[in-house]
């Protein structure tokens, strides 16, 4: 099992959700985060006071998938979230030791 964390543009979240559901990945956790990568800050100014907003709001999608689904799911996220400009985000993939469904006590792939 693998955990996929995708940090994406907030405005791409709906498209990414649709793409994930289309490849059969229904479960997901989503959080609104602030962060920075190589994309530099957004400039704002109010009555002449200028700011550089250096942490940019992003959406973070967290998925747990079976090993064999990782490539398909990652590809779905990439296709839905990509604009081609700096700031499209990143995907992080890491192994998961075990998953337990609390209601039934099922473990491993059965619980995903």
């Amino acid at each position: 099992m693998k955990r996929i964390i995708a940090v994406i543009r907030g405005e791409k979240l709906e498209e990414v959700k649709k793409a994930l559901i289309a490849v059969g990945c229904d479960g997901m956790n989503i959080s609104e985060i602030k962060g920075r990568g190589r994309q530099l800050g957004i400039r704002e100014s109010y009555r002449g006071s200028k700011y550089c907003i250096d942490l940019i709001p992003k959406s973070r999608v967290e998925l747990i998938v079976k090993d064999e689904d990782v490539d398909e799911v990652s590809q779905a996220v990439i296709e839905a979230a990509r604009t081609g400009d700096v700031g499209d985000g990143k995907i992080f993939i890491s192994p998961i030791d075990n998953v337990i469904r609390i209601r039934t006590g099922e473990k491993g792939d059965d619980a995903v």
């Binding site: 100014s45 109010y46 009555r47 002449g48 006071s49 700011y51």
Partner: protein, 406 residues
């Protein structure tokens, strides 16, 4: 004033409505306008400053404020305090074609609004207790005397100073008083302007615009051509102010800003206020244009150059556009709009001189007395919150509440 006249139900209805509209300018207008511009941690305190100032001044106004401001004049300096607590003023008493009681109420909303507007300069760092005492002293020692001089039969009125709805009494007064208070209070640790909810400010500006038509239109005290003309020129000046600020923004930084748009709108309204019942539409376009130019300069350059921390630009917008509007009244007042007055362009250059005197007197008097009040409070009770409170936010420290628990 005391002339026996028949009540006009048309005039009375209009001024009742106008009174309620002016209330809309303070609560929610100023409260939302200022609230949206402050930091998230100070939004409630900012709104509270408006609420408490309005309430205190309203009570003072009926106890002794109206009486001293509009009582029969003692040598043009101050009104004689009769009818304290409104005793002796019956619902049958008349002021022109409207009841005296209605006039008192209409003027109440003006005094209370003016006090509420001051709060924009001092947000984020003033003690609540000091604000309350300041407001009591301010309305007693600054608002009431200036109001008497200009509107209550005092010496500036006798001199012929024109102020239709409050260029000197309201806007120069609040802008300059606020500047003096902010100077004594000192700068905030973090003084850059970063509005936490600019949408609130757009809402507040819209309420101010809406209510302002009652403010300027109601000042005619009659429901007729003069009120209609005042409302028309107010809308025109406000819209020109908005457009001009957007143009300047676009030239200077390449994009129009929403904050700039509402600031220009307010500047235009401020400047047309003293002139509303005296000028025609072409003049109102020039007044709106001038207002945005003057206030833009004050907010972008003067403030930075002089380094004072007028947090939400009360001096820059109300003070500076108020001065421009009061002077413009002396230039553009047209006898074709209001037979009571003519300005420089209609062959009466003396009027501009009188306006200069009224502006200088209001500026100097409001600044000096506000500065003294603030200094005395600072030396006795202290006017500034502790540094810890300022950093953590006034809402949780002074009110044990926070604006957002979503």
């Amino acid at each position: 004033m005391a002339a026996i006249a028949a009540l006009s139900s048309g005039d009375t209805s209009w001024v009742i409505v106008a009174t309620i509209l002016v209330l809309l300018m303070s609560i929610p207008g100023a409260a939302f306008f200022y609230g949206g511009l402050t930091k998230k941690k100070n939004v409630l305190n900012t709104m509270f400053l408006t609420l408490i100032a309005f309430s205190i001044i309203a009570v003072i106004w009926v106890c002794y404020g109206y009486q001293v401001a509009f009582g029969s004049s003692i040598s043009g300096i101050i009104g004689s305090p009769t009818n304290l607590f409104m005793t002796g003023i019956s619902p049958d008493g008349m002021n022109g074609s409207i009841p005296t009681i209605l006039y008192v109420t209409f003027q109440l909303t003006f005094a209370a609004l003016t006090g509420a507007l001051i709060s924009g300069a001092i947000v984020g760092r003033m003690k609540t207790s000091a604000w309350i005492i300041y407001i009591i002293a301010w309305v007693t020692l600054i608002y009431i005397p200036i109001c008497h001089w200009v509107w209550g039969g005092g010496w500036l009125m006798n001199l012929g100073a024109l102020d239709f709805a409050g260029g000197t009494v309201v806007h120069i007064n609040c802008g300059v008083s606020a500047l003096a208070l902010a100077l004594v209070l000192g700068t905030r640790k973090e003084k850059t302007l970063l509005p936490h909810n600019l949408g609130y400010s757009v809402l507040g500006a819209a309420f101010l615009f809406f209510g302002w038509l009652g403010f300027n239109g109601g000042s005619a005290l009659t429901a007729g051509g003069l009120a209609s003309s005042a409302i028309l020129v107010s809308i025109v000046a406000a819209c020109v102010g908005l457009i001009v600020w957007c143009i300047i923004d676009t030239i200077k930084v390449g994009k129009p800003t929403v904050l700039g748009a509402i600031t220009g709108l307010i500047a235009g309204l401020v400047a047309i206020t003293p002139a509303a019942g005296f000028v025609d539409v072409p003049a109102s376009i020039v007044i709106g244009l001038g207002a945005s130019c003057v206030s833009y300069f004050a907010v972008y350059y003067l403030k930075e150059k002089l380094g004072y921390d007028d947090a939400l630009d009360v001096f820059g917008v109300h003070g500076c556009s108020g001065i421009w509007g009061a002077l413009a009244t002396g230039i553009f007042a047209s006898p074709f709009i209001n037979s009571a007055a003519s300005g420089l362009l209609y062959g009466n250059p003396g009027q501009l001189g009188i306006q200069v005197i009224a502006v200088c007197v209001s500026v100097v008097y409001a600044f000096v007395v506000s500065y003294i009040i603030a200094k005395v409070l600072d030396m006795t009770m202290g006017i500034r919150v502790e540094e810890k409170v300022e950093v953590e936010g006034l809402d949780t420290n002074l009110h044990e509440e926070s604006g957002y628990n979503l």
